[in-house]
């Protein structure tokens, strides 16, 4: 534009759109005004104008956001909207794209609600660790709600139907309007004195303003500080009240709160019945098995013929007795007979004979010993003398002389047998081939022979 360059409308609109989208102040705008020309298109998008007495702006609420509306917008209605300012490029008209819309007057409450909710959340009031468990079988339930109206009626009838075992204490309170929050908080604190198992705090459905006391800090703190577990029961489905965040359990309606507070009698009854059946079954089974065992035992012989037990024992006893008798007698008899034998023994009767006998044997033995001793000595002495007088001992040389003599005798005899002696006397010895010839028939004519003389040999021939 500085260059005086001409641009298209489209470019301009795009440029403005871009510029606007960069501005954070236009990104989230809180706007209040009055609705006019409200139209819902078949696409589900809502188109309308928001105006005040001097100005107006087009507004669109797309289907996704419009379906969350909690009221039905109409022309002339004063509203608070939250949205983004933008330009619609094809017309160049600028508009607000509405994300959230509420009726004006309620709006302040929402702000307060969000501020309180955020603060309490930050301070830890909603933390799970603070939640107390709701007793399963309460005996005494407190209800902080209006004395009249559907809420208390629904709670009492529901509890009576489900769990008539419990007492209900109503702490009546205002539930809307001036002073209701203080009243609710006071009754919650007051109920702490009554040893309640569970406390239901709530009211039936209503507009956001009607429910407002349940968004007050004073109620939130009273619920938080309650020692009794609290079920919140504010009749609305869509949003939560602060009380719902604080309570130990949240119910969407008073009836639902009563259902959470007590068990169902018929369910418990069924549970009891089934326990009872199981109990009897298991007991019967046990008894059956024991009585079977007992029967088995009863069937044993011992019980059927009990006399067998003692007749057997009787027999045993008899046997034992007999054995006892027998062995006792035998022992006595044995001892007796030994005793008698002893009693009758000779020595016992003649005690001195034994000694006398021994003395006699002793005397004899000693006599014989004395006599024999002399004999033995004498005989040994004799042997010694004889040995001393033995010839060879006295003449040891006689032994050699004797042997010499004998040798000479044998030598002379041998000398007589020497053939040479015969030859000396004139005999000759004829040999043929070195062998002595003693017979003439052993020689033949022409044999060469040798004739031995005492002084030499002559060779000759047989003729």
């Amino acid at each position: 534009m500085i260059n005086e360059e001409y641009i298209t409308v489209t470019r301009l609109n795009k440029y403005v759109q871009r510029q606007m989208s960069r501005d954070p102040n236009l990104k989230t705008v809180y706007l209040k005004g009055e609705i006019s020309n409200y139209k819902v298109y078949p696409s589900g998008h809502h188109y309308f104008t928001i105006k005040d007495d001097k100005s107006s702006i087009s507004a669109v609420m797309f289907y996704l956001f419009a379906k969350k509306l909690q009221f039905k917008p109409e022309d002339g209605m004063k509203v608070l909207v939250k949205g983004e300012v933008s330009i619609y490029p094809s017309t160049g008209k600028y508009q607000i794209i509405v994300r959230k819309m509420m009726e004006d007057g309620v709006g302040n409450l929402y702000v307060a609600y969000n501020q309180l909710k955020n603060r309490l959340e930050k301070e830890g009031y909603f933390k799970e660790e603070h939640k107390k468990p709701i007793p399963k079988f309460p005996k005494k339930i407190g209800v902080v709600t209006a004395q009249t109206g559907a809420a208390i009626h629904d709670i009492i009838t529901t509890i009576e139907r489900r769990w008539p075992l419990c007492e209900i204490l109503l702490f009546p309170t205002l539930v809307q309007g001036q002073g209701s929050a203080e009243n609710i908080a006071r009754q919650i604190r007051y109920s702490q004195n009554f040893h309640l198992d569970t406390l239901i705090v709530g009211r039936g459905g209503g507009s956001i303003e009607d429910l407002w006391s349940f968004n007050e800090e004073i109620v939130a703190k009273a619920i938080f500080e309650s020692k009794t577990p609290v079920i919140s029961a504010v009749g609305h489905e869509v949003d939560f009240t602060i009380a719902d965040f604080i309570a130990d359990m949240r119910a969407p309606t008073p009836t639902a709160a009563a259902e959470m507070a007590v068990p169902d009698c018929s369910e418990i009854s069924n549970q009891m019945d089934s326990l009872n059946i199981r109990l009897r079954e298991v007991m019967n089974k046990k008894l059956d098995s024991y009585s079977q065992r007992l029967q088995d035992i009863k069937n044993r012989n011992m019980f059927k013929n009990p006399q067998e037990i003692y007749s057997q024992k009787e027999m045993d006893l008899d046997m034992s007795k007999e054995r006892l008798n027998y062995s006792a007698n035998r022992i006595i008899m044995e001892k007796e007979s030994r005793f008698n034998r002893l009693k009758d023994s000779y020595y016992l009767r003649n005690p001195y004979d034994f000694a006398d006998n021994k003395e006699r044997i002793y005397t004899e033995l000693s006599q014989r010993l004395k006599e024999n001793m002399d004999d033995v000595i004498k005989s040994k002495e004799r042997s010694l003398i004889r040995a001393k007088e033995f010839y060879t001992i006295r003449n040891p040389k006689a032994l050699t002389k004797n042997k010499e003599q004998r040798f000479l005798e044998i030598f002379n005899k041998l000398e007589l047998l020497n053939p040479m002696l015969t030859i000396k006397r004139g005999y000759t010895l004829t040999k043929k081939d070195g062998k002595v010839v003693s017979k003439s028939k052993d020689l033949e004519k022409g044999d060469r022979i040798e004739i031995e003389f005492s002084d030499g040999n002559v060779e000759s021939e047989v003729l």
Binding site: L165, L170, Y190, I268
Partner: protein
């Protein structure tokens, strides 16, 4: 026996029911000696009886209104 009954009367319904469940479970385990089992069974029967009695006796829970001055008065919802 009366002692047991008193005891189970004093027990809260929840305790009674829990005890009853525990006994049934114990018996179903099967290793309880007969004498103990009979004792347990009697205890359980008393629990069943008192629980039944509690359930059937209280036909209508009693609703009261606590006044701010502490007075407690009957409260009837059927209006």
């Amino acid at each position: 026996m009366e002692n047991e009954e008193n005891k189970s009367n004093e027990m809260s319904f929840e305790e009674s029911l829990k005890e009853l469940e525990a006994i049934v479970r114990r018996l179903e385990m099967g290793d309880v000696p007969l004498d103990d089992a009979i004792d347990e069974f009697h205890k359980a029967m008393i629990l069943v009886k008192t629980c039944d009695k509690k359930l059937s006796e209280a036909k209508e829970s009693i609703a009261h209104l606590v006044k701010e001055n502490g007075d407690i008065i009957d409260f009837n919802v059927d209006e």
